[in-house]
């Protein structure tokens, strides 16, 4: 089926099988492998990206459902070689170790601040309930997001 999806500002006209998952589409058809696949069962959040500005788990969305939509992946956050403030906050606050969960964490975190610009620590922790990290113990991820929120970005 023919779909038209705008990914990181660029419109792609593609022909996909209806069963193609959105994560497969961005990784395999578009070569954007920053979005990871962890559990593949809508649990871990590694595949989180933005669909029309909101974080979703792209392992549980069909590419055909994104037809006509705007998608942002981790690759689309930096502008002119400058990291997005959330990426910067993760770097400054040691919000990652192995980095596998990080693209999903960053996408979920940006979506979270869009809905709640000034969250408490508890709200950040609850807001990350859909993202698992096996390394950091979450502490520095939470600190990164709070730092980014405080920076007003």
């Amino acid at each position: 089926m023919k779909i038209s999806v705008t990914v990181n500002g660029k419109t792609h006209e593609s022909d996909v099988e209806p069963r193609t998952l959105l994560v497969q589409y961005v990784r395999e058809d578009l070569g954007l492998t920053g979005t990871n696949i962890g559990c593949d069962t809508s649990s871990c959040g590694a595949c989180s990206l933005h669909l029309d500005g909101e974080a979703v788990k792209s392992c549980t969305v069909l590419a055909v459902q994104a037809d006509g939509s705007q998608v942002t992946t981790i690759e689309g956050l930096a502008t002119d070689g400058k990291m997005h403030p959330m990426q910067d906050a993760f770097m400054q606050n040691h919000g990652l170790q192995c980095g596998f969960c990080t693209p999903g964490m960053v996408m979920a975190a940006i979506s979270l601040l869009r809905e709640n610009a000034n969250p408490t620590e508890e709200e950040v922790r609850i807001g990350l309930e859909g993202n698992l990290c096996r390394c950091t113990g979450y502490h520095n991820i939470v600190q990164s997001i709070l730092a980014c929120a405080k920076g007003g970005k």
Partner: protein, 274 residues
């Protein structure tokens, strides 16, 4: 994991969706947010040969005050139910329960109608709307009918919906200030409930329903009857599992679930009675 092959049809109206499903018969399934159906299809536990995508029927996404009840379009997403000022004011129990579904990413996609039509006893919203005495409006080729939540759940993932009928609206009576509580016991934040309880009490009545305590969501009618005849919260909660028939699974044995249901119903009623 990739679903098996299927044909994809996108409906531009409820009527078109219903006629498409009627045309393709038993092998066709409605696709709303896809957060119940797609996981099953990826595991190949479901393999519909046609998906009729109703996800773009924006006219079925609404929350409106209809006087004695709130009307919720079937395609209203969990996030919109959770944050709705109308629901927070008139049916706070439902807004709260919607906030317990999955995680924010899931709530950005999943819909209240999808969750109810899927009729999973482990889901939060079937039991919550059951406790609240909701009515579901369904549309089929031969017209529209209303099904009380109490008549809707027929068995494991089975409902009173006919194959060519689509759930279009959920009508939830206003709570008129009644006390309420939503209890969900799980091991990790985003998990399904091992046992959950939706309860309200006030204005001379009460309603208690259980999540994951049998093949369907369970209305704990003995609890409500006991409260109506003056039993204490603690005594009424002892009857929590009278209508239930829980299964044992990896998370909990049936006996443990029965125990948990009594504890959670007591906590819920204490909170609702404040």
């Amino acid at each position: 994991m990739i679903p098996s092959l299927f044909d994809y049809k996108r409906a531009s109206s409820a009527a078109e969706a219903i006629s498409l499903v009627a045309e393709y018969g038993d092998d066709a399934k409605f696709l709303a947010g896809g957060h119940s159906l797609l996981p099953l299809m990826k595991l190949r536990l479901a393999a519909p040969s046609v998906l009729v995508d109703i996800g773009r029927l924006k006219d079925l996404s609404y929350i409106t005050d209809a006087g004695s009840y709130i009307a919720i379009g079937a395609l209203t997403r969990h996030m919109d139910v959770e944050t709705s000022p109308i629901l927070k004011q008139h049916v706070p129990l439902l807004a709260c329960a919607a906030g317990h579904v999955g995680d924010p990413q899931v709530r950005h996609r999943g819909t209240i109608g999808g969750s109810i039509a899927h009729a999973d006893s482990a889901s939060d919203l079937p039991a919550t709307t059951l406790a609240l005495g909701a009515t579901y409006v369904v549309q089929g080729a031969s017209g529209t009918r209303e099904i009380a939540a109490t008549d809707f759940y027929k068995g494991f993932l089975e409902s009173a919906l006919r194959p060519d009928e689509m759930l279009t609206e959920i009508r939830v009576p206003k709570m008129n200030g009644a006390g309420w509580s939503f209890q969900k016991f799980n091991r990790r934040a985003q998990d399904w409930a091992i046992v959950g309880v939706a309860a309200w009490r006030g204005n001379g009545g009460s309603g208690v329903a259980l999540v994951n305590m049998g093949s369907t969501p369970v209305l704990a009618t003995d609890v409500a009857t006991a409260l109506a005849s003056g039993a204490s919260v603690a005594d009424a909660a002892e009857l929590a599992a009278a209508q239930a028939d829980p299964q044992s699974d990896l998370n909990a044995s049936a006996e443990y679930r029965v125990h948990l249901a009594k504890v959670l119903v007591r906590r819920a009623l204490e909170e609702a009675s404040k």
